[in-house]
Symmetry: C2
Subunit: 101 residues, 2 copies
DNA sequence: TCACAGCATAACGGCATCGTGATACTGACG
DNA sequence: CGTCAGTATCACGATGCCGTTATGCTGTGA
């Protein structure tokens, strides 16, 4: 469906994935994410907004800072599963190649 | 990382997802996929090529027909998990909304 | 109240990718 | 050999998204 494709699209961007990875350990404020990723502040803000709209991340203002945290840690399982599948796929491709040569 | 994001990108397209869904039951030739999805032949060919390059699908010519099949059915688990997470996320968003109202 | 740090947003150029229509390739079959 | 169904590819216009630069907004603290 439409919605599912859009959900996958959330994870289809390297920098966005990097931002998300940053939040694996817990909540961070924007500047901390900027420092950890090395991305520009504007870009991090943009990706965090997207992640928030997608519901992957939750926004929590605290004083003059704004903290973000993953709303459902299960996403990391999804990411892990995708990594696993990706590896298996690569292996299969190599095997198929070896069968020809 | 780079590769993982690209892998997710494979599933970030409604029509491509529809093509893939078509192959859940087994292998089909291009025309069959075209009929099942209602998409144009050129478009189906394009998506099938992408899926093949990504390793999600395998190509098997048979006479004048070309059959495609999912190379690792685990992908459907990934899709299922994403669907589940998507639903859970939507629920959380509604709960958060209800908590405010 | 002013200045500054932290964060968000606007505007813009650039690039990738989507879908279409037309065309090329390739087996099967008469 | 010629034709046709099945499949792949090309060229193209259109759309969307990425990243940057510059600017706006909001709290905090002096």
């Amino acid at each position: 469906m439409e919605a599912l494709a859009e959900y996958f699209k959330v994870f289809s961007e390297p920098n966005r994935l990097a931002v998300l990875e940053t939040l694996r350990g817990g909540s961070l404020n924007v500047t901390a994410v900027v420092d950890k990723t090395g991305l520009s502040q504007a870009l991090v803000s943009k990706h965090l907004k997207l992640l928030t709209i997608a519901g992957v991340v939750k926004r929590r203002p605290e004083g003059s800072l704004v903290f973000y945290e993953v709303s459902d840690k299960t996403v990391f399982k999804l990411i892990g599963q995708a990594e696993k599948l990706l590896l298996a796929t690569r292996r299969q491709q190599l095997d198929a190649l070896a069968a020809i040569l």
